[in-house]
């Protein structure tokens, strides 16, 4: 009985050691974004090139959205600090903020759909399933950073 217990302990130890060593060595291997995207979604050279072109085209749009968001967040924070949360200015700014958020979300989703369309259908669906929740789960109820 004691030998069996010791042996089972050895089995568990071997499994745990193999798990730990695998995790350690796998976590040391890092990839850049494009290498990962290509490997994970089995992209061909042509598909990768088209997706990279889509990203380059989207970059200025994204940067513009980013600038507008930051300006609005700053303005909303100023109004909050001034204690004017009940003022029409704040209400209007809040509405504008919601509109910008909606616009940014739509633009991001559209970009993701364009990228997915360049992939093989199954991979495109998997891509959207992996990426979209990471955008949708964003808190849309109040401006980020404004507390």
């Amino acid at each position: 009985m004691k030998r069996l217990a010791l042996f089972l302990l050895l089995v568990a130890g071997v499994a745990a050691a193999a798990y730990g060593v695998t995790c350690y060595f796998n976590s040391r291997q890092t990839e850049d974004q494009w290498t990962w995207l290509r490997r994970e979604f089995h992209l061909s050279d042509a598909q990768l090139a088209r997706i990279q072109a889509l990203h380059r085209a989207y970059e200025p749009v994204c940067a513009d959205h980013c600038r507008r968001i930051m300006a609005m967040q700053k303005r909303l924070a100023e109004l909050e600090r001034a204690g004017t949360k009940d003022s029409p200015d704040y209400g209007a700014m809040q509405q504008a903020w919601d509109a910008v958020k909606h616009e940014c979300n739509e633009a991001t989703l559209q970009h993701l759909r364009k990228v997915a369309a360049e992939m093989d259908p199954d991979q495109g669906r998997r891509y959207l399933a992996l990426m979209v929740p990471r955008i949708s789960r964003y808190d849309h109820r109040e401006p980020r950073g404004v507390r």
Binding site: A18, G20, T22, S27, Q33, K101, N105, Y138
Partner: protein, 112 residues
């Protein structure tokens, strides 16, 4: 014909055949008994026996079933580790990727 030869029968009956004892007979028998006791089912010992390697070198070898179970545990550990790191890495890369294209997440990091 031979049975009927009385001379031959007499000679055979009186023939005192005493073969010389095999050298190290007892030692070899005990060595086999010990080897069987110490590594009764070890596949390594069986293979080694066929190759002429003394089984005493495999006194710590595990039985075949136990060896297979250990190998299975190692494979399961490697598989679980690979699965976990793949999932973790995918989540991390996907989060970083979305962050790089989502202006709302980008701006969130810049505002106090």
């Amino acid at each position: 014909m031979i049975d009927r030869d009385p001379n031959l029968s007499r000679v055979l009956k009186s023939w005192p055949h005493q073969p010389p004892p095999a050298p190290r007979f007892k030692a070899e028998v005990w060595a086999r008994i010990e080897a069987a006791r110490e590594a009764p089912w070890a596949a390594a010992a069986l293979i080694a026996g066929r190759l002429g390697i003394p089984a005493r070198h495999f006194r710590w070898a595990l039985p075949l079933g136990a060896s297979l179970l250990l190998a299975l545990a190692a494979v399961a550990g490697i598989g679980a580790g690979t699965l976990r790191t793949t999932l973790t890495e995918n989540n991390r890369m996907a989060a970083a990727y979305v962050q790089s294209i989502d202006p709302l997440q980008m701006a969130g990091g810049h505002v106090d």
